[in-house]
């Protein structure tokens, strides 16, 4: 329509000018004659009836023409203000007529203008807008583009919403409004309702169309991501998400916040806020909390060792909540501020998550105690959350069984970890209920290990400050942790008051509600207490006797301070009955010192002086003595002449000791005799029985070209080297000062030595190996050795090599041999004969028996118990079969062999 026609039309309504002509104009409706009316009267229906339809049609045509939406509204730069037909009076009138006037739809078949417009908008949206949106959304949204996609969506929707709503609000609503306000005076609320209702309904319908065209899950996922991402950025949490590195460039958080607010408000405006957005937001915040917990903000504080929990609470309160409020505000959610109870809930929730995250690594924290104090404190806070204790117990037990209680872990390591567990859990929960629970499997496992008691006791007896730093090297059996515990002062043991009845105890607290029935608050709760109570008392004391015995015999400290202290400690912990044996042992070694000095001081020293003329003068200084029915003993050295210090041990109280018997050098025998005589004089009825295998000695060897001192030798080593002294009958050219010629070194073979010393061959060989290692002897032919009289003339590579090799072997052997107290293995070997006769007796008298039965009978019948397993027993039976005493009858049944 050109301008001219418009002008014309504004004066003369010429329907034909418009593009459509309503039918009634073309074909006037003459109406129908009502019943009883005269036919054909031109006035018949002048009142309106049939004319209403015509009028309405006309008005409809004008209004819809006016309101219809532009066809290609969205170009690249969609202009909202597309050229709209100016609103003419005719249109105004038509709208008025259709919306509030007589033309208002009255019957169901008549379409209302509002409905028509809504439909028009829908149609328009489906035709022109939806394809563009679908293009954006029909694929998975790459997280990198989530922001852009949302922005774009929001922009488009905002535009079209404006496009749709603008005419409606401009042209339709005023009519409705006017009608609403003019018709009746109503209370404000209802008025609002009436006037707002059509607009609100329109908007809702359009927004429903919008929402419908977006894939709901994809949309909420994207929105959720965007919210999460913005959370991360606002709090500067850099977490890898789905392989995507969050942008490392710190954006200006103010600007970012604005962008977020804009987006959210935009979404809310086009109806994409609301419940779905809230749900997406909830997801995002949930994830954000997780991310925060694993982020660098809440890393365990290894340096200042503080708990991170206050930090976390603060963040929830001052970081998380404001963000939630901001977003809720943007989304126009109903309660748009956070309630205090919600804050509390969130803090608890976050604490629970933090706790779980920490508990997952609890084992690592425990083994890094006490650097990990911060983490432990976090977990301590976490324990206040309900169910936390169960979770902690089960999770930690799992970690322990997976990472600790397996054959690959050394007992020392397990013990160390156990100590850390004790310390860490003591911090975690001073009442010890948790500790009791988590430690149970560890304790049970430790009990099963053979070497536990030995390691504990020997570690307790070890000096902490060790000169070389090798004692506690990795792989060493000794536990530094245990040794250092020993250094701590003995905790004050409260007197045996019944604490429950101590009315004056102002610090009394009830037992923890989750304690097990046998829970008992330990009075002393240091680490040693836990270690010492691993076993039944009796078992522990037996083990203690063995180890203490071994230790006392080797101990260098003349005062035995550590040993006394240990014994006192154990007495405090375990009560002092049953520990007599240990006390006697300790007293024995202390008494021995006195007896030694009294014997040596009583003028016998003359006897101890032996001629110095001999070429190699052994000065053995340690010897283990046995005192008749009830004691053994031994000595340390004096520089001059052989000197004997005895340890007098009450054999009844000591554990079984090594009893290898052999001849000690004659000089020593002499001293032993005189010592014995003196001892008997002092101690009356008691008799000494010498235990030559125990003890230690030092010796000075004089060679042609050198003199060497050796200390801490075993008696058999000394005996063997002494046997290389020339015998009176032997041809040996004594030099001026008693040295032999280099060419005629003295030679002995193993056989000779073994008979001469009545010593077991393995022991002889071990001693020979030791001396070869020291470059004192050399092997001339297999089993034959001679003294290296002169190093200078004979030193050659072969000797050195042999010495090096022998030294290594000797060391290994010495370690195996040096235990003074018998091992299980030794005991088994020793008692084998008794066991044999048991088996023979059993099989002779009760007939053939299966091995299980034999085992059971042995356990039952052997006095003192049969502490050995099936393997040992089967070995023994096999041996007896080989000897022809027993026959195997198949199926592990054994019988006696008939002669």
């Amino acid at each position: 329509m050109d301008h001219k026609s418009r002008v014309f039309a504004s004066v003369f309504a010429v329907p034909s000018l418009s593009h459509t002509t309503p039918t009634p104009i073309a074909t006037p409706d003459l109406g129908y004659t009502g019943p009883g009316k005269s036919f054909g009267s031109p006035f018949a229906s002048a009142a309106g009836g049939p004319h209403r339809a015509v009028r309405r049609n006309l008005a409809w045509s004008a209004a819809t023409r006016f309101l219809s939406l532009p066809k290609p509204p969205l170009g690249n730069d969609t202009s909202v203000d597309f050229e709209r037909i100016p609103k003419s009076a005719e249109v105004e009138e038509a709208l008025q007529y259709l919306l509030v006037g007589e033309g208002k739809s009255e019957q169901e078949h008549e379409e209302g203008l509002v409905e028509w417009y809504t439909n028009e908008a829908r149609l328009h949206f489906a035709t022109y807008v939806r394809p563009a949106l679908e293009e954006l959304w029909d694929r998975e949204i790459d997280l990198r583009h989530a922001w852009e996609v949302l922005d774009e969506t929001q922009r488009i929707l905002h535009l079209v919403q404006h496009l749709y709503l603008q005419p409606f609000e401009d042209h339709v609503l005023p009519h409705l409004y006017n009608q609403g306000s003019s018709s009746t005076i109503r209370p404000g609320n209802s008025e609002d309702m009436v006037t707002q209702a059509p607009g609100w309904k329109m908007k809702r319908d359009i927004q429903a169309v919008f929402a419908h065209c977006l894939p709901p899950q994809r949309f909420s996922k994207t929105l959720s991501y965007v919210l999460y991402d913005s959370g991360c950025k606002l709090f500067r949490i850099y977490v890898r998400q789905d392989g995507l590195q969050a942008s490392a460039t710190p954006e200006d958080s103010q600007a970012f916040r604005k962008r977020l607010v804009a987006l959210l408000q935009g979404l809310e405006l086009v109806g994409l806020g609301g419940d779905n957005a809230q749900k997406a937001f909830a997801h995002a915040m949930d994830k954000l909390m997780d991310s925060f917990i694993v982020s660098h903000y809440l890393k365990v504080d290894w340096f200042s060792k503080k708990s991170m929990v206050p930090h976390l609470r603060m963040w929830i309160k001052d970081g998380f909540c404001p963000l939630v409020e901001l977003v809720l505000d943007c989304l126009k959610c109903d309660p748009d501020h956070v309630q205090p109870t919600e804050l509390q809930q969130w803090q608890d929730m976050a604490l629970g998550r933090l706790g779980r995250a920490r508990v997952d690594n609890l084992f690592d924290f425990v083994i890094n105690w006490d650097k990990s104090l911060g983490a432990i404190l976090d977990i301590k806070e976490y324990l206040k959350v309900s169910n936390a204790k169960q979770h902690l117990t089960s999770s930690f037990s799992q970690q322990v069984s997976r990472r600790l209680l397996h054959p690959g872990a050394t007992t020392t390591f397990i013990l160390n970890v156990y100590i850390y567990v004790i310390r860490a859990f003591h911090e975690l929960e001073p009442k010890g209920v948790l500790l009791e629970r988590v430690a149970r499997p560890i304790r049970r496992y430790l009990k099963e290990r053979d070497d536990t008691a030995r390691i504990i006791i020997s570690s307790l007896l070890t000096d902490l400050d060790d000169e070389s730093g090798t004692k506690f090297a990795p792989g060493s059996e000794l536990s530094y942790e245990i040794a250092s515990e020993m250094h701590k002062p003995i905790a004050n043991v409260s007197q045996d008051q019944d604490e429950e009845l101590n009315w004056n105890d102002m610090n009394w607290q009830p037992l923890p509600s989750d304690a097990s029935p046998d829970y008992k608050k330990a009075k002393v709760e240091d680490v040693i207490w836990f270690l010492l109570t691993l076993w039944d008392r009796e078992d522990f004391i037996d083990e203690l006797k063995n180890i203490l015995g071994n230790h006392l015999l080797r101990c260098q400290d003349p005062e035995y301070e550590k040993e006394i202290r240990l014994l006192e400690l154990i007495k405090i912990r375990l009560g002092d009955d049953k520990l007599q044996a240990c006390e006697v042992m300790l007293r024995d070694v202390l008494d021995s010192k006195r007896i030694n000095s009294s014997i040596q001081g009583s003028g016998i020293s003359g006897l101890l002086q032996t001629p110095q003329g001999a070429p190699r003068t052994p000065q053995p200084s340690g010897r283990q003595l046995g005192l008749g029915p009830s004691t053994p003993s031994w000595p340390p050295p004096q520089p001059k002449g052989p000197k004997l210090n005895a340890q007098i041990l009450s054999s009844f109280f000591w554990p079984p000791l090594r009893e290898d018997d052999f001849q000690v050098p004659e000089q020593i025998q002499t001293i032993q005799k005189s010592y014995e005589a003196n001892f008997e004089r002092i101690k009356g009825m008691r008799k000494l029985r010498w235990m030559n295998a125990l003890g230690d000695s030092s010796i000075t060897l004089a060679f042609q070209d050198r003199t060497e001192d050796f200390e801490k030798l075993t008696p058999w080593q000394v005996s063997v080297i002494c046997a290389f002294e020339p015998q009176p009958g032997e041809e040996w050219a004594a030099g001026g000062n008693g040295k032999g010629k280099a060419t005629s070194s003295i030679t002995r073979d193993v056989e000779q030595l073994s008979t001469a010393l009545s010593m077991d061959t393995p022991l002889v060989r071990q001693a020979l190996g030791f001396w070869v290692g020291k470059s004192v002897l050399r092997s001339t032919s297999p089993d034959t050795y001679e003294v290296i009289e002169s190093l200078a003339t004979t030193s050659n590579k072969a000797d050195a090599d042999a010495a090096a090799a022998a030294q290594e072997i000797a060391q290994v052997q010495a370690e195996a041999q040096s235990a003074a107290v018998k091992t299980q293995e030794d005991v088994f070997q020793e008692k084998k004969d008794v066991y044999r006769s048991f088996i023979v007796g059993m099989l002779t008298n009760t007939g053939n028996l299966p091995v299980m039965r034999i085992m059971m009978m042995m356990r039952m019948m052997v006095q003192g118990g049969f502490p050995f397993g099936m393997e040992e027993l089967k070995g023994l039976l096999a041996e007896m079969m080989a000897e022809g005493k027993v026959v195997g009858l198949g199926g592990e049944v054994y019988g006696i062999r008939k002669a």
């Binding site: 008794v834 006769s837 048991f838 023979v840 007796g841 059993m842 002779t844 008298n845 009760t846 007939g847 059971m856 009978m857 039952m860 019948m861 052997v862 006095q863």
Partner: protein, 168 residues
């Protein structure tokens, strides 16, 4: 310890001491075995034992082994155990059901005898029967008058433990 269990000894703890005493005797027997004599409890119940003795050389019983069943009462060692031969034996002082007539099983018993002493006595009884109070008159008579016939009777009556098992 001995004091307490001796004084107020209800049956339970008395039984305990019998078992302990028997266990000790068993241990002694095993650590210092006597040639030709073994004894061992039948089962967990320490009060029933089986003993095996070998016939002394230079007697009609040489190379034969005899099993005995021993029952220890709750008063052991103050009363003698009851001992019977399980292996059939032809002997002046043993009847056909294996009962033995021996002074130390009756009035001469003393707690000092012990299981080992008892078995040693029984072993020597084989070589030196007390013919003045025989349970088996024929055997006593043959022992005094016809050693060859006696030996035949001994061998005829003896059964090895395997044969005994078969009979049972």
């Amino acid at each position: 310890m001995a004091l307490t269990s001796g004084h107020n000894a209800p049956n339970g703890s008395r039984g305990q001491t019998v078992a302990q005493r028997l266990q000790k005797e068993l241990m002694d027997l095993m650590t210092k075995p006597t040639a030709g004599i073994t004894a061992f409890p039948d089962d967990e119940n320490m009060t029933r034992w089986t003993a095996t003795i070998e016939g002394p050389a230079d007697t009609p019983y040489a190379n034969l082994t005899f099993k005995l069943a021993m029952r220890f009462g709750s008063t052991y060692p103050y009363e003698a155990p009851s001992v019977v031969f399980k292996t059939p034996i032809y002997h002046p002082n043993v009847d056909f059901s294996g009962r033995i007539c021996l002074d130390i099983l009756k009035d001469k018993w003393s707690a000092l005898v012990g299981i080992e002493g008892l078995l040693v006595s029984l072993q020597s009884l084989l070589g030196e029967p007390n013919n003045s109070s025989p349970l088996n008159g024929q055997a006593a008579e043959l022992w005094d008058n016809d050693m060859e016939a006696f030996k035949r009777h001994v061998l005829a009556r003896h059964k090895t433990s395997e044969e005994l098992d078969l009979d049972a």
